[in-house]
């Protein structure tokens, strides 16, 4: 299974987590995800995810004027976004536990 498939499942969670630490604009979020280790993440996917989460009410946005470049649109979590993040984190952890147990058995057989 390619990393990209795994990524699609957790991208919402990853984006929400990054924004929970600090507000960010599009490319900023991409950078932070890559720095966290998700090197395969596509810029377009992150932009689309941001718009989708914003559309769903999980994010709020505001524009920060900039002197040198274009004004930047920053995203931040709303209360609903925070709830969503908590929900998804729990789901992810539960899911990861299951997968851990499954793979744990496999690993022992191989050894």
């Amino acid at each position: 299974m390619e990393t990209t498939q795994l990524l699609k499942g957790v991208l919402d969670l990853a984006v929400l987590s990054v924004l929970a630490d600090d507000d960010g604009y599009g490319y900023d979020v991409v950078r932070r995800l890559r720095e966290a280790g998700l090197e395969e993440v596509g810029d377009a996917s992150v932009y689309g995810t941001l718009r989708r989460l914003f559309s769903g009410g999980a994010l709020s946005s505001y524009v920060v004027p900039s002197e040198e470049g274009p004004h930047r649109k920053y995203y931040g979590l709303t209360a609903r976004g925070r709830d969503l993040l908590a929900e998804m984190t729990k789901e992810w952890r539960d899911f990861a536990d299951i997968v851990q147990r499954l793979t744990g058995t496999n690993g022992k057989e191989a050894a």
Binding site: A44, S45, Y47, G48, S55, G56, G57, G69, K73, R80
Partner: protein, 253 residues
Amino acid sequence: MSTTDAYVAAVRSLIQHLPTIEREEILEDLTAQLNEEAAEPGIALEQRLGTPSAFAAEFVESLGEVARREMSAPATAPPVGLRRWWSDVAPAWWMLRPFVIVGTIVLLVAHHRADKLTRVALLALGAAVAAAAVSWSRREGSAGGRWNLALSAVGVVSAVALGLALVSGSATRTMVVRPAPAAAIEMKCAMVAKERVMGPPDSPKFGPGKPFDAPDVPPICRRVLPLETTTTSTAPPPSTTSTTSAPPPTTTP
């Protein structure tokens, strides 16, 4: 035309079908990113971002159902009718709610028989709860949730209880459901007694020596005042302590 502009133009042509706001947002972000990356040398544009068609496809896919929206309307359409009215009223209710709840608690406390210190402590607690509820309401606002609903339920019950207390309070004022306190009886009956003593002479009803045991004397005074009648009376002598064992204030404010 620079490679940045060419790339952006290529992506634009591929996302014409998207809602206007989504299309303009991504093109703006893409332009900003490319300009930012232009400072970083090295890797070709398409190697970093993929081909314009790959980029456009990936973007549309990650948009999900947002891509299929007809209009570039906000996710939550502006409320109409009843919802609109509620969205205007709701903030006022959230601010009022804690006070309604605390107001009811205050009334309950004021009529409680506990000592003054306990009552003051309860009031302070109530004020703290109100402050917390107000600040919480302000923060959460329309974020629904069970707690908000529960608080609203308590608020409604309190408002109803408060309303009932006000209504029944005025009702009991007209009925003698509970005996009036001793002091009030004394005062009222003292007025009657004064009338009897100081009344105009030659009046059939008033004047010294006229009976208190008359139909126009309030029943409760007949028990308190001395009965100056020629008939023997079994009424108890007037006393400063109440003949009734009435608890403090009858009516709620």
